[in-house]
Amino acid sequence: MLGIISNLITQTLGYSSTLLFGSTGEIITEKSGNLNLGTPGIMSLGGVFGVIGAYYYTTFVSNFNPLVSIIVTLLATIIGSLLTTLIYCFLTITLRANQNVTGLALTTFGVGLANFLGGIINNKAEGSSGVSAFPPIAMAYQTKLPFADNLGFIGKAFLSSGFMTYLAIIIAIITAIVIKRTRIGLNLRAVGENPATADAAGINVNRYKYVATCLGGVISGLGGLHLVMQYLSGGWNKSAVEQFGWLSVALVIFAVWRPLLSILGSVLFGALYVIPFSIPNLAPKNQQLLELLPYVVTIIVLAISSMRKKRETQPPESLGTTYFREER
C-alpha cells in the first residue's frame, strides 16, 4: 500500500513539475504586464528542441556521457524557447502589437512547428511513421538522488524524481524571493502595475519587459523538456505538451500570481491529473468527468478572487496592455 502511495506521489510530482515550470515562467512574464498566451507554443517548441538536441547528440557523438547529453538537450531547449519568446517580445514590446493576438499566433506557430519538427525527427530516427525515442538520455534525466532509496517512504515518495523536479521548485522559490524581496522585483512589479509611473521613476520599462518575458519563456520551455524526458522517453508525440501549456496559464490564476502558491497548486493539479488514472475499476467515463476538475477549480478561483476584489489577489494592473510613453 505504501509502495502504491509513494509511487502515486512520485508520478504526481512528475506532472506537477512541468506545470510548475510553465506557471513560474508565466508569472514572471505577467508580472511585467505581458500576458503571454504563447506559453503552450513556447513549451511545445522547448520540448521539441530538447528532442532535436537528443537526436543530434546520439547521432553525432559516439561515446555517450549522461551529463553531456543533459547539457546539450538543456541548451537546445533554452535556445529554442528563447528564440520563440523573442518573436513575442519584439512584436508586443517593440512593435506594440496586441498581446492576445500575438500570443495566440505564437501558440499556433509553436505547436505547429513543434509537431512539424518532431515529425521530421521521428521520420529520421525510425524511418517511416515511427516515433523516435532516446531512452538513455531520458534515463539520465530520471536519475534519482543517490540517497533516495535509503530514506524509506519519504525518500521513495519525494526524493525519487529526476533533478528537473527539484530544479522547478528551486526556481519557483527563487522567483518568489526576487519578486517579493529585491529591488529588481519591486521594479518589475511596478512595470507590471503601472508602466507610466515606473517610467517616470527612471525604470527602463522595455528592458524589464524584455528580460522578464524572455526569462519566463525559457523557464516555461524547460517544462516542455521535462515532459518529453519524463513521459515520452525523450521522443516527440503530437500535441502532448500543448494541454500542459494551457494548464500552466490556468495555474497562474489559481496561484494568484504567487510562485510559492504555484508550487502547491501544481501539486494539486498534478494530483488531479494522475488520480483519475490511478483509481482502480473506475469507469472511463467517470475518469473523463474527473478530468474536468482542474479547469472547474480554476474557474471558481478566478471568479471568487474577482468577486472579493482583494488587492493582493488581482492580476497586475497593466496586464495585457502595451505601453507607449507618448500615449497617456
Binding site: 498566451l37 512584436l91 502589437a97 492576445n100 499566433a105 512539424f116 478566478l302 507607449f324
Partner: protein, 370 residues
C-alpha cells in the same frame, strides 16, 4: 548646444511618433507589403523542407485547395466554417471583450446537435427535429458564452482566462458524452445515425455543403449590417472605444457586454450545428473544431473586424492551411505545416500594423555631431 552636445543625452537613433490618421491607399500598401513579405517567408520555409521552387510551391498549394472540383468545395466549406467563427468572435472583440472561448462555444453547439440527433432522432418528425437541434445548439453556444460575460459584467472577472477554461470544460464534456453513448468500446461514435439519416441537414441543389455555405453567407450579411447600421452595433463600438464614454452617454455597459456575448455564442452554436449535422458524414469528437476557434480570432483581427474583408482573410488562411498541408504531403509528416504558415503571415501582418499606427523617423544629423 553644439558645444556641449557630447555631454547631453543623445537623441535616440530611431524615433517613433504616433500617426493621427493614414490614408486608405497607404494603409492598403503597408498591409500589402507585409502580406507579400509573409508569403515570401512562407515560400522559403516550404522550399527548405520540400525542395520545390517558390512558384511550384504556390501552384501545388492552389491545386490542393481551390484547384480541383472536389477540393474546391471542401476548401470553400472550410472557409465558410472559419468565416462563421470569425464573424462570431467579431462583435465581442469590437467591444474589447477578449473571447478566446469560441473553440468551446462551437464544440458545445456541436455536442448539442449530436445529442439531439441521437436522443430524439427516432421520436421527432424531421422538421421538428431540425428545429429542436437548431435551438439547442444555439442555446448551448449562448450559455457557454454568457457565463463569462455575466461574470465580466458584474465582477470584472478576467474574460480571457475564463473563456479559455470553458473550452476545456466543453472538450471534456464531449469526451464524456462519447464514453456514455459508445457501446463499441472504441471511444468513437463513428458516423451518427448512419443507417437512418435522422437529423441530417437537407442538401441544397443536391450538393453537400451548399446549405452550410449559404447559411454562412447569410450570417455574414447579417453581422455586417448589425455592426455597421444598427443602434446596437454602434453601442458596441462605443463600449469598445471607451467604457466611460459609453456610460456618460447613457449606454448600459453591462447589458451590452452580456447581449453581445450572447450573439457571439449563438453564432458559434449554429456553427457547431453546421459542423455536425451539415456534414455528409456527421460525427462528433473532441477535435472536431480543430483549433479554428483560435484561428478565427486571428482572422477577425487581421480583417480589422470587417465582415467583408474577413471572407478573403478566411480564404487566405484556408489556402495556407490546407494548401500547405497538401504541398508537404509527400513528407508524410502531418498537417501542422499549415499552422506554421498561417502564424508566419499573422506575424507579418501584426508587425506591419505598427507602421500604420506609428511614424518612424531617424535621428537627423546635426552640424558638429559626428
Amino acid at each position: 548646444m553644439s558645444k556641449n552636445s557630447s555631454n547631453t543625452v543623445k537623441e535616440p537613433l530611431i524615433h517613433f511618433t504616433k500617426r493621427d490618421d493614414i490614408t486608405g491607399i497607404k494603409s492598403v500598401l503597408v498591409h500589402g507589403i507585409g502580406l507579400l513579405a509573409g508569403l515570401i517567408v512562407c515560400a522559403v520555409f516550404i522550399m527548405l523542407v520540400t525542395g520545390l521552387s517558390p512558384i511550384e510551391v504556390y501552384v501545388k498549394m492552389f491545386q490542393g485547395t481551390f484547384g480541383g472540383d472536389v477540393t474546391r468545395l471542401k476548401a470553400l466549406h472550410h472557409t465558410a466554417i472559419l468565416l462563421a467563427i470569425s464573424l462570431a468572435v467579431t462583435p465581442a472583440f469590437k467591444m474589447k471583450f477578449w473571447n478566446i472561448g469560441a473553440e468551446g462555444q462551437v464544440l458545445i453547439g456541436a455536442l448539442a446537435a449530436a445529442f439531439c440527433m441521437l436522443e430524439y432522432g427516432n421520436t421527432l418528425q424531421e422538421p421538428v427535429l431540425l428545429l429542436v437541434m437548431f435551438l439547442t445548439s444555439m442555446l448551448a453556444g449562448i450559455i457557454w458564452a454568457i457565463i463569462p460575460a455575466i461574470f465580466k459584467a458584474l465582477w470584472n472577472t478576467n474574460e480571457t482566462l475564463f473563456t479559455l477554461m470553458m473550452n476545456y470544460v466543453a472538450t471534456t464534456l464531449v469526451g464524456y458524452f462519447i464514453m456514455v453513448k459508445d457501446r463499441s468500446g472504441r471511444s468513437d461514435l463513428g458516423i451518427l445515425n448512419e443507417r437512418t439519416g435522422y437529423g441530417y441537414l437537407p442538401k441544397l441543389f443536391g450538393q453537400d455543403y451548399y446549405l452550410n455555405i449559404s447559411i454562412v453567407i447569410f450570417i455574414t450579411i447579417l453581422v455586417f449590417i448589425y455592426l455597421k447600421y444598427s443602434k446596437q452595433g454602434y453601442e458596441i463600438s462605443v463600449v469598445g472605444e471607451s467604457q466611460n464614454t459609453a456610460k456618460y452617454i447613457g449606454i448600459n455597459v453591462k447589458k451590452v457586454i452580456i447581449r453581445t456575448m450572447a450573439i457571439s455564442g449563438a453564432i458559434c452554436g449554429i456553427t457547431g450545428l453546421l459542423l455536425v449535422a451539415g456534414s455528409p458524414t456527421p460525427s462528433i469528437n473532441e477535435s472536431i473544431v480543430g483549433g479554428q476557434g483560435f484561428t478565427a480570432i486571428l482572422v477577425s483581427w487581421m480583417a480589422k473586424f470587417n465582415p467583408i474583408i474577413m471572407i478573403f482573410v478566411s480564404a487566405l488562411v484556408v489556402f495556407l492551411g490546407d494548401g500547405g498541408a497538401s504541398a508537404t504531403d509527400a513528407l508524410k509528416i502531418d498537417s501542422s505545416v499549415g499552422e506554421v504558415l498561417t502564424a508566419i503571415i499573422i506575424f507579418f501582418i501584426i508587425g506591419c500594423e505598427f507602421f500604420i499606427r506609428y511614424k518612424v523617423s531617424f535621428r537627423k544629423r546635426q552640424k558638429g555631431d559626428k
